[in-house]
């Protein structure tokens, strides 16, 4: 069997086949195109081609006032739009000197963590599909539905929320929201155990994902890989814990990192997947604390009005989105429109490491590796 570290010997010399995987392919998770060079079933090289979803959102930002760009951010990482909203709003608040009230900060963390769970559930489900198990997807969507219902109660939207605004959030919680959230927090740990039973520790699944796409910590850092992918390689880095923002300093949670307990090396596809499963638990923990700690009070900073940061101010805001370190670099020239908004999308760096880790793997592993990186093309292409 193709165990890690063993080079595959090719006894029969056969023709190399160049295959165009995508942009329309069921498991490229969007309009990613990968040019594969294969020898039979073995993948010799893979070059990702991106840009099929490019909208030049950064140019759009330069032509809008600060507040108007918020809806564009949740069309970047459309799977966890709240995280993008939060990152952008924090970046603008940082250079404009706005402080959101405490209740708003808690609400922000509640919605981003809910959205992180929803995003990881999608990653879990689609990873199941990538490896050939369809049922986990629907199990994951069952709970994702609850989260989307919760978020819909808050802001009326289920995918592109624009709930977080510069200086606070859009609206306070509707009646019944906290109860439904508590109910979700109560039932969710049991569901995570169910997922683990169904997929994570399934023998075939582990055989399929253990030891493939091994990403060493050095390579991961060199390529700027962040988020669960980096933590899967054993690097304990999480912006929420390392450089905490918002109310994260007041919250207690673990940062899970990759293990070798499953019998595979650090940084393989299974580890990357399993980090997400562990983070589901951590996010639930955070949600629980937030619900308990959330104070009463206003949800919007006073006198935000027209956001007009001073001229030539700049700020780079790092936040931990579901896929990794999301950076917003905002530069102001003293007008109501930013002169530059640079989005540092985590998936952009995460997918760039693909050629490095698929060489010599089987064709089926390419799919499993792309799935384990959990990319969102909306944010890669922006």
């Amino acid at each position: 069997m193709n165990s890690p570290g063993v080079t595959i010997d090719r006894d029969v010399k056969t023709d190399e086949l160049v295959i165009n995987m995508g942009p329309q392919h069921p498991s490229t998770h969007g309009v990613l195109r990968v040019i594969l060079k294969t020898d039979g079933e073995i993948c010799l090289d893979a070059q990702p081609e991106i840009g099929y979803l490019h909208r030049c959102a950064e140019k759009i930002a330069e032509n809008l006032v600060y507040g108007q760009f918020v809806p564009y951010t949740d069309r970047m990482d459309y799977v966890s739009g709240m995280g993008c909203n939060l990152g952008y709003c924090l970046a603008v608040e940082q250079i404009a000197g706005i402080q959101a009230p405490l209740r708003a900060e808690y609400l922000r963390i509640i919605v981003t963590e809910l959205n992180r769970i929803a995003s990881h559930l999608l990653a879990f489900g689609t990873y199941g599909i990538d490896t050939g198990a369809i049922t986990p997807f629907l199990y994951g969507f069952r709970e994702r539905e609850m989260i989307l219902d919760l978020l819909e109660m808050l802001c009326g939207a289920r995918l592109t929320y624009s709930y977080i605004r510069i200086g606070g959030v859009d609206g306070d919680v509707p009646p019944g929201f906290i109860d439904k959230l508590r109910e979700f927090i109560d039932i969710f740990p049991g569901k995570i155990r169910e997922y683990n039973k169904l997929l994570t520790f399934n023998h075939i699944f582990m055989k399929r994902t253990t030891g493939i796409g091994v990403l060493s910590p050095e390579t991961a850092i060199a390529y700027g890989v962040t988020g669960p992918n980096l933590r899967g390689s054993g690097v304990r880095r999480d912006v929420r814990r390392d450089e905490p923002y918002s109310v994260y300093p007041k919250l207690e949670f673990d940062v899970p990192v990759g293990t070798t307990q499953h019998g595979g090396p650090l940084g393989d596809a299974w580890n990357r997947y399993y980090i997400r499963m562990k983070e589901l638990e951590e996010s639930t923990k955070i949600l629980k604390q937030c619900v308990e700690q959330m104070p009463q009070g206003p949800i919007m900073a006073e006198k935000v009005g027209r956001v007009k940061p001073p001229a030539k101010t700049e700020g780079y805001m790092r936040s931990e989105n579901a896929r990794g370190e999301l950076g917003f670099y905002v530069v102001s020239d003293g007008t109501m429109q930013p002169v530059r908004v640079k989005v540092r999308a985590p998936s952009f760096s995460n997918i760039s490491v693909l050629p490095e880790i698929v060489r010599g793997q089987m064709l089926a592993d390419v799919v499993a590796i792309i799935g384990s990186l959990d990319i969102v093309l909306g944010e890669i292409d922006r």
Partner: protein, 348 residues
Amino acid sequence: MNELANFLPTVLSRSGLTVPSALIPVLAMFLCASIMAAFMGLSAAVLVWAERKLAGHFQCRLGPVYVGGKFGWLQSIADGIKLLLKEDIIPDQADRPLFRLAPYPVVIGVLLAFIAVPFSEKLMVTDFNIGVFFILAVLTVEVFGVILAGWASNNKWALLGAMRAAVQMVSYEIPMGLAILPVVVMAQSLSLKTIVAAQSGGALHWFVFQPPFFMAVSFLIFFIAGLASLKRAPFDLPEAESELTAGFHTEYSGMRFSFFFMAEYAGMLLVSAVASALYLGGWHGILPGQESVWWFLAKTGFLIFVMIWIRWTLPRLRIDQIVYVGWKVLTPFVLACVVGQSLWATLR
């Protein structure tokens, strides 16, 4: 079929038709073939519905609910009509004659195999004295159709799917064939009718429950290899939709696509039917003396349920793992079973 041939003249004379006596066997053949084809189509339709319904319930949803009342049981008919009415697209660069030809071996292979399936003591097309062997042989024709489809599509994904199908078939034909041998040793015959007849007298006489349980192991191996030869999950690599888009039938649409689909479901029925005839006592009931076609169908249905259950639970294997399992796990085990059973049969 012979009964049918004997029966036909009386029917024909009653209806007032005169047919030359030389044509009567031919007519009987045609009748038989059309009955089998209709049965296969119908069972495929039922199985498609059952699979969708079961998959729905496995996945916390309802499955088809609208077409044909509460349970959506007309769903597969609607699907069939949709597939019939769809445009039959042939890619520009495809090898057109082969592309058109490819679905037929697939269907014919499965259909031919049904000839030897004993539904009950009376209800079978013909009792081949090499029944089991015949089924194995014609099933390989199906794989050739699959390979042809993949090659003729002139699509790289389809080609990869076809290659996987070839590899899988070569690896699993051997354990599947060998798994039958312990049964043949016990029943002293290759005829499915004789094999089933040898298991009469209640559940304890079914081959799967016979000590020293070599046949139980070979039943498992037969079932696994059968899943692999049907290209069902977790062995659905030739059509792995998340890897090869749709594998060998990527380029097929409409009626030609539905042939592949039909063959898969008919194949499920076939493998389950053969397994229940070989190991689970065929038409014999749990208690001695119970004999009915319904027993046979119930056992077959249960095995089909298990197949569906497996498909909607397990992830897919990888090609090297499939080959590994086929050659290094199943083949040695089944060889041990054959040797063990033969020794048991001679020493007893």
